[in-house]
Amino acid sequence: MDLLGNLALGFGVAFTAQNLMYAFFGSVLGTLIGVLPGLGPVATIAMLLPSIYSLDATPALIMLAGIYYGAQYGGSTTAILINVPGESSSVVTAIDGYQMARQGRAGAALAAAGLGSFFAGCVGTVIIAAFAPPLTELAFKFGPQEYFSLMVLGLIGAVVLASGSLIKAIAMIILGLLLAQINTDVISGTARYSFDIPELTDGIGFVVIAMGVFGFGEIIANLGMPAEHREVFTKSVKGLWPTKQDFKEAWPAVLRGTALGSLLGVLPGGGALLASFAAYTVEKKVAGASGRFGKGDIRGVAGPESANNAGAQTSFIPMLTLGIPPNAVMALMVGAMTIKGIQPGPQVMTSNPQLFWGLIASMWVGNAMLVILNLPLIGIWIKLLTVPYRFLFPAITLFCCIGVYTLNNNTFDVYMTAAFAVVGYVFYKLSCEPAPLLLGFILGPMMEENLRRALLLSRGDWGTFFVRPLSAGLLAAAALMIVIVLLPSIKSKREEAFQEE
């Protein structure tokens, strides 16, 4: 069995003392930022990127992955206890979880979320291990045409499944692609859009954009809002174990959530956020009139929480096998791999099997750690919730600043980040989603290279993208997605689904 052999290799790597330590560190840090509202995984991973210079590739990626799924666990804790989702993927958890907490069943809700997430995480890990090799094989058949079309599909998918205005989201992708054009052209060596500033000829660092737009932009937006009053259910967390009745209701929801989440996570643009929304809708439909949704139904916690964790896991599949990030966090992971000198793509599995399988195995290890961390230590996390934002934001600002500076030991990057902080706030004010911009920015250079190579091969014939069956299929899928979303009936459903955000 190849699968078992590979997993054995992976667990061998994951169970070394060093890697266990980084998985633990990542999970704890992830839970921490998940618990703290106003600091998301994107900004945190961007902040930590400079630090991975001193690490090997495998522990570095294990740590970053831990932050991502740790944030999913932490986000649900705040959603249940104070009705403030720490992460956007926990928005729906807050609806029923908070009601359960008010009825004194916070323990049951936290346990359902934790155990459901753990189960989903395990399934997600197995799915990655099973599906990554065949997908990788398929990817080796790809020429530049297929890669270009795949990236088009990936980018379109990323916005179709996201919330907000479709046209604005596509415009944001293109803005990202354009910003990525500020560099030195690889083929001719021409410096583009550099205005004779030497730092710009190397292009803008994606950490600069991520940090400016996601880190600082968010801080400014948060500070602009009036301080909110929070009601914390600190004392009422007792009786951690759900009752028999709770178990009976929750486990089918966990199964459905896991299945749905695993499926949606693989899709471009999927991942945790979409999975949890879809799962909540499904649970509400399945329960029908018998449900107590909105009034503290355990299924409304178990389903979405399992789904967002499964989605978070399986969104690694397109990143690991094709080198194409389906969401902003994965885009940063691609950036991290590039920093460590690993070209993301199908060859990673064969050229760095230790890294590939070690990362996958570490996800299971990290999930196990998280259940242990979150359920018994819940008291510690609750304490953290009482830290006021006025202590937090100077610290976040400081870490972002140091992070940007140390990236190249360069103050130019710090000034650029300040500029992008303004840009980020403008995006926030104009309700333009910044995540598609980051995806476009990461994929920009790859897209241009593949486009030009494809055109070179076909002697300038754009038809080449439609003649090759695989490429044509990918483009057709992208077109189909846009058409479906624009259909009036789906359009209203989509708006409905995201209105709770």
Binding site: A171, Q181, R192, F393, L398, Y405, A418, G460
Partner: protein, 153 residues
């Protein structure tokens, strides 16, 4: 003509302007041909697409009625200016004054962005974070960051 959606109007305008600027910039570089695309080929296509999408958003914002007019709302000038100024000062000060002085300056400045400013809390935060960032970044991660101002070291 009346603007029906403020947010869409301004974002549409932003997209159009960016598209036009990049398109004009692209004309400085060789276009090449389809068979042999030059450095200006891809940016030009992108910037035209960008301008088209922007004008569509702009058109929509002037024609389709939106409930409430989608106002942009008050701009949080204070946090915006304070945070941006703090980052800039940090960039200018760090290579000259070192971590020991720059961190407290940054904390003092950023704290002005919030609603509350309490000297005790801010000073405590500054001390904790200065020591903390030395421990994490210099001691732990072994990053090369200037520690002391130029006149000391």
């Amino acid at each position: 003509m009346k603007i029906k959606s403020q947010r869409d109007f301004w974002s549409g305008l932003m997209f159009v302007v960016v598209g036009v600027v990049f398109a004009v910039g692209a004309t400085n570089y060789s276009m090449g041909t389809s068979a042999r695309p030059g450095p200006g080929y891809f940016p030009l296509i992108l910037s035209i697409l960008m301008a088209l999408l922007g004008s569509f958003v702009l058109f929509k914002s002037l024609t389709i009625e939106v409930e409430g007019g989608d106002p942009i709302g008050a701009i949080a000038w204070r946090p915006l200016l304070v945070i941006v100024a703090s980052i800039t000062v940090f960039g200018a000060a760090l290579p000259r004054l070192g971590l020991v002085i720059t961190v407290p300056i940054l904390i003092l400045m950023t704290s002005l962005a919030g609603d509350e400013f309490k000297w005790k809390g801010v000073l405590a935060t500054a001390v904790v974070l200065t020591v903390g960032s030395w421990a994490i970044f210099v001691l732990g991660l072994k990053l090369v960051i200037p520690m002391w101002p130029w006149f000391v070291g």
